[in-house]
Protein backbone atom coordinates (compact mmCIF):
# COMPACT_ATOMS: atom_id res chain seq x y z
CA UNK A 1 0.00 0.00 0.00
CA UNK A 2 2.75 2.42 0.86
CA UNK A 3 5.48 1.26 -1.56
CA UNK A 4 7.02 3.74 -3.98
CA UNK A 5 5.44 4.22 -7.38
CA UNK A 6 7.37 4.95 -10.57
CA UNK A 7 6.48 8.56 -10.22
CA UNK A 8 7.99 8.67 -6.73
CA UNK A 9 11.18 7.16 -8.09
CA UNK A 10 11.38 9.68 -10.88
CA UNK A 11 10.72 12.60 -8.54
CA UNK A 12 13.43 11.38 -6.26
CA UNK A 13 15.96 11.23 -9.10
CA UNK A 14 15.07 14.74 -10.24
CA UNK A 15 15.32 15.94 -6.66
CA UNK A 16 18.84 14.48 -6.33
CA UNK A 17 19.89 16.09 -9.58
CA UNK A 18 18.85 19.59 -8.61
CA UNK A 19 20.32 19.24 -5.18
CA UNK A 20 23.63 18.22 -6.69
CA UNK A 21 23.56 21.11 -9.11
CA UNK A 22 22.99 23.66 -6.36
CA UNK A 23 25.69 22.10 -4.26
CA UNK A 24 28.19 22.31 -7.11
CA UNK A 25 27.37 25.98 -7.63
CA UNK A 26 27.91 26.69 -3.97
CA UNK A 27 31.27 24.96 -4.02
CA UNK A 28 32.27 26.87 -7.14
CA UNK A 29 31.47 30.02 -5.27
CA UNK A 30 33.64 29.16 -2.32
CA UNK A 31 36.63 27.92 -4.29
CA UNK A 32 37.94 31.35 -5.40
CA UNK A 33 37.65 32.73 -1.88
CA UNK A 34 39.59 29.82 -0.46
CA UNK A 35 42.22 30.03 -3.20
CA UNK A 36 42.71 33.76 -2.77
CA UNK A 37 43.04 33.50 0.96
CA UNK A 38 45.45 30.57 0.87
CA UNK A 39 47.66 32.16 -1.77
CA UNK A 40 47.75 35.36 0.23
CA UNK A 41 48.57 33.57 3.43
CA UNK A 42 51.14 31.36 1.77
CA UNK A 43 52.95 34.12 -0.07
CA UNK A 44 52.31 37.11 2.14
CA UNK A 45 52.34 35.40 5.51
CA UNK A 46 56.14 35.31 5.85
CA UNK A 47 56.53 39.11 5.64
CA UNK A 48 53.96 39.76 8.36
CA UNK A 49 55.38 40.87 11.67
CA UNK A 50 54.81 43.52 14.26
CA UNK A 51 57.54 45.54 12.58
CA UNK A 52 55.85 45.24 9.21
CA UNK A 53 52.68 46.76 10.64
CA UNK A 54 54.34 49.51 12.63
CA UNK A 55 57.22 50.86 10.55
CA UNK A 56 57.41 53.05 7.45
CA UNK A 57 58.28 51.77 4.01
CA UNK A 58 61.96 52.33 3.20
CA UNK A 59 64.33 52.05 0.20
CA UNK A 60 61.82 53.46 -2.28
CA UNK A 61 59.03 51.28 -0.87
CA UNK A 62 60.85 48.03 -1.66
CA UNK A 63 61.32 47.20 2.00
CA UNK A 64 60.09 48.19 5.45
CA UNK A 65 56.53 48.27 6.76
CA UNK A 66 53.18 49.80 6.01
CA UNK A 67 52.39 51.86 9.08
CA UNK A 68 51.48 55.16 7.34
CA UNK A 69 49.22 53.37 4.88
CA UNK A 70 47.51 51.43 7.65
CA UNK A 71 46.86 54.56 9.68
CA UNK A 72 45.76 56.41 6.55
CA UNK A 73 43.16 53.79 5.68
CA UNK A 74 41.78 53.91 9.21
CA UNK A 75 41.51 57.70 8.89
CA UNK A 76 39.82 57.53 5.51
CA UNK A 77 37.27 54.92 6.54
CA UNK A 78 36.51 56.59 9.85
CA UNK A 79 35.92 60.02 8.36
CA UNK A 80 33.85 58.47 5.56
CA UNK A 81 31.74 56.68 8.18
CA UNK A 82 31.23 59.87 10.16
CA UNK A 83 30.01 61.62 7.03
CA UNK A 84 27.87 58.96 5.43
CA UNK A 85 26.16 57.40 8.45
CA UNK A 86 24.23 60.41 9.74
CA UNK A 87 23.21 61.51 6.26
CA UNK A 88 22.37 58.03 5.05
CA UNK A 89 20.41 57.04 8.13
CA UNK A 90 18.47 60.31 8.14
CA UNK A 91 17.62 59.95 4.47
CA UNK A 92 16.53 56.35 4.95
CA UNK A 93 14.37 57.35 7.91
CA UNK A 94 12.71 59.98 5.81
CA UNK A 95 12.13 57.67 2.88
CA UNK A 96 10.84 54.78 4.92
CA UNK A 97 8.95 56.50 7.75
CA UNK A 98 7.79 59.86 6.46
CA UNK A 99 7.73 60.07 2.68
CA UNK A 100 4.30 59.64 1.12
CA UNK A 101 4.08 56.91 -1.47
CA UNK A 102 3.99 59.06 -4.59
CA UNK A 103 5.89 59.45 -7.83
CA UNK A 104 8.50 61.73 -6.28
CA UNK A 105 9.41 59.21 -3.59
CA UNK A 106 9.53 56.47 -6.18
CA UNK A 107 11.76 58.61 -8.36
CA UNK A 108 14.11 59.27 -5.46
CA UNK A 109 14.28 55.56 -4.66
CA UNK A 110 15.07 54.81 -8.26
CA UNK A 111 17.77 57.45 -8.29
CA UNK A 112 19.36 55.95 -5.20
CA UNK A 113 19.47 52.51 -6.76
CA UNK A 114 21.04 53.94 -9.88
CA UNK A 115 23.51 55.96 -7.89
CA UNK A 116 24.77 52.72 -6.40
CA UNK A 117 25.73 51.66 -9.90
CA UNK A 118 27.90 54.67 -10.73
CA UNK A 119 31.48 53.50 -11.37
CA UNK A 120 33.95 54.51 -8.70
CA UNK A 121 36.17 56.37 -11.18
CA UNK A 122 33.25 58.66 -11.90
CA UNK A 123 32.88 59.32 -8.20
CA UNK A 124 36.59 60.06 -8.13
CA UNK A 125 36.25 62.74 -10.79
CA UNK A 126 33.23 64.16 -9.01
CA UNK A 127 35.27 64.25 -5.81
CA UNK A 128 38.05 66.18 -7.50
CA UNK A 129 35.63 68.68 -8.94
CA UNK A 130 33.49 69.12 -5.87
CA UNK A 131 35.67 68.64 -2.81
CA UNK A 132 39.22 69.24 -3.97
CA UNK A 133 38.54 72.22 -6.23
CA UNK A 134 35.15 73.76 -5.54
CA UNK A 135 35.14 73.49 -1.75
CA UNK A 136 38.91 74.02 -1.73
CA UNK A 137 39.66 71.11 0.59
CA UNK A 138 42.65 70.36 -1.65
CA UNK A 139 43.87 66.80 -1.93
CA UNK A 140 43.24 65.77 1.64
CA UNK A 141 41.74 63.08 3.83
CA UNK A 142 38.60 65.22 4.00
CA UNK A 143 38.14 65.33 0.25
CA UNK A 144 38.94 61.64 -0.17
CA UNK A 145 36.67 60.55 2.66
CA UNK A 146 33.80 62.67 1.44
CA UNK A 147 34.21 61.11 -1.98
CA UNK A 148 34.08 57.66 -0.39
CA UNK A 149 31.06 58.76 1.64
CA UNK A 150 29.18 59.93 -1.43
CA UNK A 151 30.01 56.67 -3.10
CA UNK A 152 28.66 54.56 -0.22
CA UNK A 153 25.63 56.71 0.58
CA UNK A 154 23.26 54.78 -1.69
CA UNK A 155 24.16 51.44 -0.15
CA UNK A 156 24.01 52.89 3.34
CA UNK A 157 20.53 54.20 2.59
CA UNK A 158 19.40 50.89 1.13
CA UNK A 159 20.82 48.86 4.02
CA UNK A 160 19.21 51.17 6.56
CA UNK A 161 15.89 51.17 4.80
CA UNK A 162 15.86 47.39 4.74
CA UNK A 163 16.47 47.23 8.47
CA UNK A 164 13.72 49.76 9.09
CA UNK A 165 11.30 47.86 6.94
CA UNK A 166 12.04 44.65 8.80
CA UNK A 167 10.27 46.18 11.81
CA UNK A 168 6.69 44.88 11.57
CA UNK A 169 4.14 47.45 10.48
CA UNK A 170 1.85 46.33 13.31
CA UNK A 171 4.17 48.00 15.82
CA UNK A 172 3.88 51.32 14.05
CA UNK A 173 0.12 51.02 13.79
CA UNK A 174 -0.08 50.26 17.48
CA UNK A 175 1.86 53.41 18.25
CA UNK A 176 -0.04 55.68 15.89
CA UNK A 177 -3.29 54.39 17.26
CA UNK A 178 -2.25 55.50 20.71
CA UNK A 179 -1.62 58.96 19.33
CA UNK A 180 2.17 58.71 19.07
CA UNK A 181 3.71 60.99 16.46
CA UNK A 182 5.96 59.63 13.75
CA UNK A 183 9.04 60.71 15.64
CA UNK A 184 7.87 59.20 18.92
CA UNK A 185 7.18 55.98 17.07
CA UNK A 186 10.61 56.03 15.47
CA UNK A 187 12.47 56.82 18.64
CA UNK A 188 10.67 54.45 20.97
CA UNK A 189 9.90 51.50 18.76
CA UNK A 190 11.32 51.54 15.25
CA UNK A 191 14.92 52.56 15.97
CA UNK A 192 15.46 50.37 19.04
CA UNK A 193 14.37 47.40 16.97
CA UNK A 194 16.35 48.17 13.86
CA UNK A 195 19.51 49.75 15.19
CA UNK A 196 21.43 46.48 15.17
CA UNK A 197 20.61 45.88 11.53
CA UNK A 198 21.37 49.46 10.61
CA UNK A 199 24.74 49.56 12.29
CA UNK A 200 25.93 46.24 10.99
CA UNK A 201 24.70 46.96 7.49
CA UNK A 202 26.40 50.31 7.53
CA UNK A 203 29.68 49.03 8.93
CA UNK A 204 29.73 46.25 6.34
CA UNK A 205 29.14 48.65 3.50
CA UNK A 206 31.57 51.28 4.61
CA UNK A 207 34.32 48.82 5.48
CA UNK A 208 34.26 47.75 1.87
CA UNK A 209 35.48 51.22 0.96
CA UNK A 210 38.77 50.38 2.68
CA UNK A 211 39.66 48.58 -0.52
CA UNK A 212 38.65 51.31 -2.96
CA UNK A 213 41.49 52.89 -4.88
CA UNK A 214 40.10 55.07 -7.64
CA UNK A 215 38.04 57.48 -5.50
CA UNK A 216 40.94 58.32 -3.21
CA UNK A 217 43.70 58.35 -5.77
CA UNK A 218 43.04 61.87 -7.05
CA UNK A 219 41.40 63.28 -3.97
CA UNK A 220 43.65 62.65 -1.02
CA UNK A 221 45.81 59.56 -1.11
CA UNK A 222 49.52 59.94 -1.75
CA UNK A 223 51.96 57.52 -3.36
CA UNK A 224 54.56 57.88 -0.71
CA UNK A 225 54.38 59.98 2.40
CA UNK A 226 56.30 58.59 5.32
CA UNK A 227 54.56 60.77 7.93
CA UNK A 228 51.31 60.20 9.70
CA UNK A 229 48.50 62.63 8.88
CA UNK A 230 47.91 65.20 11.60
CA UNK A 231 44.45 66.36 10.56
CA UNK A 232 41.79 65.78 7.92
CA UNK A 233 43.39 68.47 5.78
CA UNK A 234 46.54 66.40 5.26
CA UNK A 235 47.19 63.94 2.51
CA UNK A 236 47.81 60.38 3.52
CA UNK A 237 48.98 57.04 2.26
CA UNK A 238 46.38 54.29 2.04
CA UNK A 239 46.59 50.53 1.92
CA UNK A 240 44.75 50.12 -1.34
CA UNK A 241 46.76 52.69 -3.23
CA UNK A 242 49.99 51.46 -1.66
CA UNK A 243 49.23 47.97 -2.90
CA UNK A 244 48.55 49.29 -6.37
CA UNK A 245 51.74 51.33 -6.39
CA UNK A 246 54.14 48.65 -5.19
CA UNK A 247 52.56 46.04 -7.46
CA UNK A 248 52.70 48.06 -10.65
CA UNK A 249 54.70 51.28 -10.35
CA UNK A 250 57.81 50.51 -8.36
CA UNK A 251 60.56 48.28 -9.80
CA UNK A 252 62.41 45.82 -7.63
CA UNK A 253 59.78 45.10 -5.00
CA UNK A 254 60.21 41.63 -3.52
CA UNK A 255 57.35 39.34 -4.48
CA UNK A 256 56.18 38.72 -0.92
CA UNK A 257 55.64 42.40 -0.12
CA UNK A 258 52.44 43.08 -2.13
CA UNK A 259 50.99 39.82 -0.90
CA UNK A 260 51.69 40.89 2.64
CA UNK A 261 49.96 44.24 2.08
CA UNK A 262 47.00 42.51 0.47
CA UNK A 263 46.76 40.11 3.36
CA UNK A 264 46.67 42.96 5.87
CA UNK A 265 44.07 44.82 3.82
CA UNK A 266 41.81 41.81 3.55
CA UNK A 267 42.26 41.07 7.25
CA UNK A 268 41.17 44.60 8.10
CA UNK A 269 37.99 44.24 6.10
CA UNK A 270 37.29 40.79 7.50
CA UNK A 271 37.92 42.07 11.02
CA UNK A 272 35.40 44.88 10.50
CA UNK A 273 32.90 42.34 9.20
CA UNK A 274 33.52 40.06 12.14
CA UNK A 275 33.05 42.92 14.57
CA UNK A 276 29.81 43.99 12.95
CA UNK A 277 28.48 40.44 12.89
CA UNK A 278 29.38 39.90 16.53
CA UNK A 279 27.73 43.19 17.33
CA UNK A 280 24.61 42.15 15.46
CA UNK A 281 24.43 38.84 17.29
CA UNK A 282 24.84 40.59 20.59
CA UNK A 283 21.97 43.00 19.87
CA UNK A 284 19.83 40.27 18.31
CA UNK A 285 20.05 38.14 21.38
CA UNK A 286 18.39 40.94 23.30
CA UNK A 287 15.41 41.39 21.07
CA UNK A 288 12.53 39.03 20.61
CA UNK A 289 9.28 39.13 18.83
Amino acid sequence: MFEASDLNERNRRVERLWRLLFLVMTVLLIVPVVVILSVLIHKGGPVLSIDFLFTEPVQGMTAGGIFPALVGTVWLVTVALLASVPIGVAAALYLSEYAPDNWLTRAINLAIINLAGVPSIVHALFGVGAFVLFFRFGTSILAASLTLAIMTLPVVIVATRESLQAVPQAFREACWNMGATRWQTIRRVVLPNSISGILTGVILEVSRTAGETAPIMFTGAAFFLPFLPQSVYDQTMAMSLHLFVISTQVPGVPEALPFGVALVLISMVLAMNAISIAFRMHLRSKKKW
Partner: protein
Protein backbone atom coordinates in the same frame (compact mmCIF):
# COMPACT_ATOMS: atom_id res chain seq x y z
CA UNK B 1 -19.27 73.30 20.59
CA UNK B 2 -22.04 73.53 23.13
CA UNK B 3 -21.08 71.77 26.30
CA UNK B 4 -24.66 70.60 26.73
CA UNK B 5 -24.08 68.32 23.78
CA UNK B 6 -21.00 66.85 25.34
CA UNK B 7 -23.04 65.25 28.11
CA UNK B 8 -25.67 63.70 25.90
CA UNK B 9 -26.19 59.97 25.88
CA UNK B 10 -24.81 59.55 22.41
CA UNK B 11 -21.10 58.79 22.17
CA UNK B 12 -20.73 58.44 18.42
CA UNK B 13 -23.10 60.03 15.98
CA UNK B 14 -22.60 59.71 12.25
CA UNK B 15 -24.54 61.46 9.54
CA UNK B 16 -24.55 60.37 5.94
CA UNK B 17 -21.08 58.89 6.02
CA UNK B 18 -19.91 57.74 2.62
CA UNK B 19 -16.44 56.39 2.10
CA UNK B 20 -14.51 55.55 -1.05
CA UNK B 21 -11.30 53.59 -1.50
CA UNK B 22 -10.29 55.18 -4.78
CA UNK B 23 -13.36 54.63 -6.90
CA UNK B 24 -14.73 51.76 -4.85
CA UNK B 25 -17.44 52.88 -2.42
CA UNK B 26 -17.22 50.95 0.85
CA UNK B 27 -19.73 52.84 3.03
CA UNK B 28 -23.12 54.20 1.95
CA UNK B 29 -24.99 56.85 3.93
CA UNK B 30 -24.14 55.45 7.32
CA UNK B 31 -26.34 57.08 9.98
CA UNK B 32 -25.68 55.77 13.45
CA UNK B 33 -26.15 56.84 17.01
CA UNK B 34 -24.06 54.77 19.34
CA UNK B 35 -24.96 55.15 23.01
CA UNK B 36 -22.45 56.25 25.57
CA UNK B 37 -21.10 53.84 28.14
CA UNK B 38 -22.50 50.74 26.53
CA UNK B 39 -21.29 47.92 24.36
CA UNK B 40 -22.44 47.98 20.78
CA UNK B 41 -21.58 45.12 18.47
CA UNK B 42 -21.28 45.28 14.71
CA UNK B 43 -22.03 42.21 12.67
CA UNK B 44 -22.30 41.48 9.00
CA UNK B 45 -20.77 39.31 6.32
CA UNK B 46 -17.11 39.65 5.37
CA UNK B 47 -16.38 42.74 3.33
CA UNK B 48 -19.49 44.67 4.36
CA UNK B 49 -17.45 47.58 5.74
CA UNK B 50 -17.28 46.94 9.48
CA UNK B 51 -13.55 47.49 9.73
CA UNK B 52 -13.77 50.43 7.38
CA UNK B 53 -16.36 52.08 9.59
CA UNK B 54 -14.36 51.42 12.74
CA UNK B 55 -11.23 52.84 11.22
CA UNK B 56 -12.95 56.00 10.15
CA UNK B 57 -14.03 56.64 13.73
CA UNK B 58 -10.44 57.23 14.79
CA UNK B 59 -9.37 58.58 11.42
CA UNK B 60 -6.77 55.91 10.80
CA UNK B 61 -8.21 55.28 7.32
CA UNK B 62 -7.04 58.54 5.93
CA UNK B 63 -3.40 57.45 6.17
CA UNK B 64 -4.10 55.63 2.94
CA UNK B 65 -3.88 58.51 0.53
CA UNK B 66 -6.69 57.28 -1.71
CA UNK B 67 -9.49 57.27 0.86
CA UNK B 68 -12.22 59.90 0.64
CA UNK B 69 -14.86 60.39 3.31
CA UNK B 70 -17.96 62.58 3.27
CA UNK B 71 -20.59 63.21 5.90
CA UNK B 72 -19.87 63.83 9.54
CA UNK B 73 -18.76 61.77 12.49
CA UNK B 74 -19.21 63.30 15.91
CA UNK B 75 -17.68 61.78 18.97
CA UNK B 76 -19.03 63.07 22.29
CA UNK B 77 -20.57 65.95 20.39
CA UNK B 78 -17.43 67.03 18.57
CA UNK B 79 -16.94 66.66 14.86
CA UNK B 80 -13.70 64.70 14.58
CA UNK B 81 -13.27 65.67 10.94
CA UNK B 82 -13.38 69.39 11.70
CA UNK B 83 -10.33 71.26 10.39
CA UNK B 84 -9.08 72.34 13.83
CA UNK B 85 -9.09 68.83 15.24
CA UNK B 86 -5.74 67.49 16.45
CA UNK B 87 -5.33 63.88 15.33
CA UNK B 88 -3.21 63.02 18.35
CA UNK B 89 -6.10 64.02 20.63
CA UNK B 90 -8.53 61.97 18.57
CA UNK B 91 -6.37 58.89 18.91
CA UNK B 92 -5.92 59.54 22.60
CA UNK B 93 -9.64 59.68 23.32
CA UNK B 94 -10.54 56.89 20.92
CA UNK B 95 -8.54 53.72 21.50
CA UNK B 96 -8.36 50.82 19.10
CA UNK B 97 -7.86 47.10 19.64
CA UNK B 98 -6.93 44.92 16.68
CA UNK B 99 -7.71 41.45 15.56
CA UNK B 100 -4.18 40.21 16.12
CA UNK B 101 -2.83 41.28 19.48
CA UNK B 102 0.00 43.71 18.75
CA UNK B 103 1.90 44.44 21.93
CA UNK B 104 5.00 46.52 21.37
CA UNK B 105 8.37 44.80 21.68
CA UNK B 106 8.90 46.33 25.10
CA UNK B 107 8.41 45.12 28.65
CA UNK B 108 4.91 44.59 29.98
CA UNK B 109 5.27 47.66 32.14
CA UNK B 110 6.46 49.84 29.26
CA UNK B 111 3.61 48.64 27.09
CA UNK B 112 1.03 49.72 29.63
CA UNK B 113 2.47 53.20 30.08
CA UNK B 114 3.53 53.73 26.47
CA UNK B 115 0.52 55.84 25.56
CA UNK B 116 0.72 57.74 28.81
CA UNK B 117 4.36 58.60 28.21
CA UNK B 118 3.63 59.66 24.67
CA UNK B 119 1.01 62.08 25.92
CA UNK B 120 3.06 63.41 28.81
CA UNK B 121 5.58 65.32 26.73
CA UNK B 122 8.95 65.92 28.34
CA UNK B 123 7.62 65.80 31.88
CA UNK B 124 9.53 63.33 34.04
CA UNK B 125 6.89 60.97 35.39
CA UNK B 126 7.56 59.86 38.98
CA UNK B 127 8.05 56.12 39.39
CA UNK B 128 5.24 55.83 41.93
CA UNK B 129 2.81 57.38 39.46
CA UNK B 130 3.87 54.91 36.79
CA UNK B 131 3.56 51.99 39.17
CA UNK B 132 0.05 53.03 40.12
CA UNK B 133 -0.98 53.41 36.50
CA UNK B 134 0.41 50.01 35.60
CA UNK B 135 -1.31 48.31 38.50
CA UNK B 136 -4.67 49.95 37.98
CA UNK B 137 -4.70 49.33 34.23
CA UNK B 138 -3.67 45.72 34.62
CA UNK B 139 -6.24 45.19 37.37
CA UNK B 140 -8.96 46.58 35.13
CA UNK B 141 -8.12 44.04 32.46
CA UNK B 142 -7.90 41.22 35.01
CA UNK B 143 -4.25 40.65 34.27
CA UNK B 144 -2.58 42.01 37.37
CA UNK B 145 -2.43 38.78 39.33
CA UNK B 146 -0.92 36.80 36.47
CA UNK B 147 1.80 39.26 35.51
CA UNK B 148 2.56 41.27 38.62
CA UNK B 149 5.80 39.33 39.22
CA UNK B 150 7.11 39.71 35.70
CA UNK B 151 6.36 43.26 34.70
CA UNK B 152 9.82 43.65 33.22
CA UNK B 153 9.54 40.67 30.92
CA UNK B 154 8.90 41.18 27.21
CA UNK B 155 5.23 41.56 26.43
CA UNK B 156 5.66 39.34 23.40
CA UNK B 157 6.31 36.38 25.70
CA UNK B 158 2.73 36.44 26.98
CA UNK B 159 0.04 34.13 25.65
CA UNK B 160 -2.22 35.55 22.97
CA UNK B 161 -5.05 36.02 25.42
CA UNK B 162 -2.79 37.89 27.82
CA UNK B 163 -1.37 39.95 24.96
CA UNK B 164 -4.83 41.01 23.89
CA UNK B 165 -5.70 42.00 27.45
CA UNK B 166 -2.48 43.96 27.59
CA UNK B 167 -3.41 45.73 24.36
CA UNK B 168 -6.62 46.81 26.04
CA UNK B 169 -4.81 47.77 29.23
CA UNK B 170 -2.38 50.08 27.45
CA UNK B 171 -5.27 52.21 26.21
CA UNK B 172 -6.63 52.88 29.68
CA UNK B 173 -4.01 55.14 31.31
CA UNK B 174 -4.76 57.99 28.88
CA UNK B 175 -8.44 57.79 29.81
CA UNK B 176 -10.07 57.17 26.46
CA UNK B 177 -13.81 57.68 26.06
CA UNK B 178 -14.35 55.21 23.26
CA UNK B 179 -12.80 51.81 22.65
CA UNK B 180 -13.00 50.42 19.15
CA UNK B 181 -12.38 46.70 18.87
CA UNK B 182 -12.02 44.91 15.58
CA UNK B 183 -12.68 41.21 16.12
CA UNK B 184 -10.65 41.27 19.32
CA UNK B 185 -11.16 37.59 20.05
CA UNK B 186 -10.78 36.02 16.65
CA UNK B 187 -7.13 35.07 17.21
CA UNK B 188 -7.90 33.52 20.60
CA UNK B 189 -8.96 30.04 21.66
CA UNK B 190 -12.41 29.56 23.24
CA UNK B 191 -11.10 30.00 26.76
CA UNK B 192 -9.24 33.15 25.82
CA UNK B 193 -12.29 34.44 24.00
CA UNK B 194 -14.38 33.93 27.08
CA UNK B 195 -11.85 35.69 29.29
CA UNK B 196 -11.55 38.70 26.99
CA UNK B 197 -15.32 38.90 26.58
CA UNK B 198 -15.72 38.90 30.31
CA UNK B 199 -13.22 41.70 30.53
CA UNK B 200 -14.98 43.75 27.85
CA UNK B 201 -18.22 43.26 29.70
CA UNK B 202 -16.63 44.63 32.87
CA UNK B 203 -15.39 47.75 31.10
CA UNK B 204 -18.92 48.65 30.08
CA UNK B 205 -20.15 51.80 31.76
CA UNK B 206 -16.76 53.46 31.99
CA UNK B 207 -16.15 53.31 28.28
CA UNK B 208 -18.20 53.32 25.14
CA UNK B 209 -17.27 50.14 23.34
CA UNK B 210 -17.85 49.39 19.69
CA UNK B 211 -16.92 45.84 18.86
CA UNK B 212 -16.86 44.11 15.50
CA UNK B 213 -17.41 40.39 15.59
CA UNK B 214 -18.13 37.45 13.34
CA UNK B 215 -19.29 35.43 16.24
CA UNK B 216 -23.07 35.60 16.65
CA UNK B 217 -22.96 34.05 20.07
CA UNK B 218 -20.45 36.65 21.14
CA UNK B 219 -22.51 39.52 19.82
CA UNK B 220 -25.48 38.13 21.63
CA UNK B 221 -23.73 37.46 24.92
CA UNK B 222 -21.46 40.42 25.08
CA UNK B 223 -23.26 43.44 23.70
CA UNK B 224 -26.22 45.60 24.56
CA UNK B 225 -26.94 47.00 21.16
CA UNK B 226 -26.24 45.46 17.82
CA UNK B 227 -25.72 46.87 14.34
CA UNK B 228 -26.14 44.72 11.27
CA UNK B 229 -24.39 45.88 8.13
CA UNK B 230 -24.61 44.62 4.60
CA UNK B 231 -22.68 45.81 1.54
CA UNK B 232 -21.62 49.06 3.17
CA UNK B 233 -25.06 49.99 4.51
CA UNK B 234 -26.54 49.81 7.96
CA UNK B 235 -29.49 47.45 7.71
CA UNK B 236 -30.62 47.32 11.28
CA UNK B 237 -29.61 48.81 14.61
CA UNK B 238 -31.46 47.68 17.71
CA UNK B 239 -31.01 46.42 21.26
CA UNK B 240 -29.27 43.07 21.09
CA UNK B 241 -32.08 41.03 22.63
CA UNK B 242 -34.50 42.46 20.09
CA UNK B 243 -32.38 42.03 17.01
CA UNK B 244 -31.67 38.41 17.81
CA UNK B 245 -35.21 37.52 18.76
CA UNK B 246 -37.37 39.64 16.51
CA UNK B 247 -35.30 41.12 13.72
CA UNK B 248 -37.31 43.65 11.78
CA UNK B 249 -35.48 43.03 8.56
CA UNK B 250 -35.48 39.85 6.51
CA UNK B 251 -31.78 40.15 5.63
CA UNK B 252 -30.89 40.46 9.30
CA UNK B 253 -32.89 37.38 10.09
CA UNK B 254 -31.20 35.45 7.31
CA UNK B 255 -27.76 36.46 8.47
CA UNK B 256 -28.38 35.73 12.12
CA UNK B 257 -29.69 32.33 11.28
CA UNK B 258 -26.52 31.66 9.33
CA UNK B 259 -28.01 31.71 5.89
CA UNK B 260 -25.12 33.66 4.51
CA UNK B 261 -21.47 34.42 4.78
Amino acid sequence: MASAEAVSDIAIETRQVNLWYGTFQALFDVDLQIPRGRITSMIGPSGCGKTTFLRSVNRINERLGYVRTTGSIEVLGYDIYAPDVELVQVRKRIGMVFQRPNPLPLSIRDNVVFGYRVHSGRRKIPQTELDELVESALRQVLLWDTVKDRLDRQATELSLEEQQKLCIARLLPVKPAVLLMDEPCSALDPKGTEAVEELIWQLRGDYTILIVTHNMAQARRASEECIFMLLGKVVEHAPTDEIFVTPRNQETADYIEGRYG
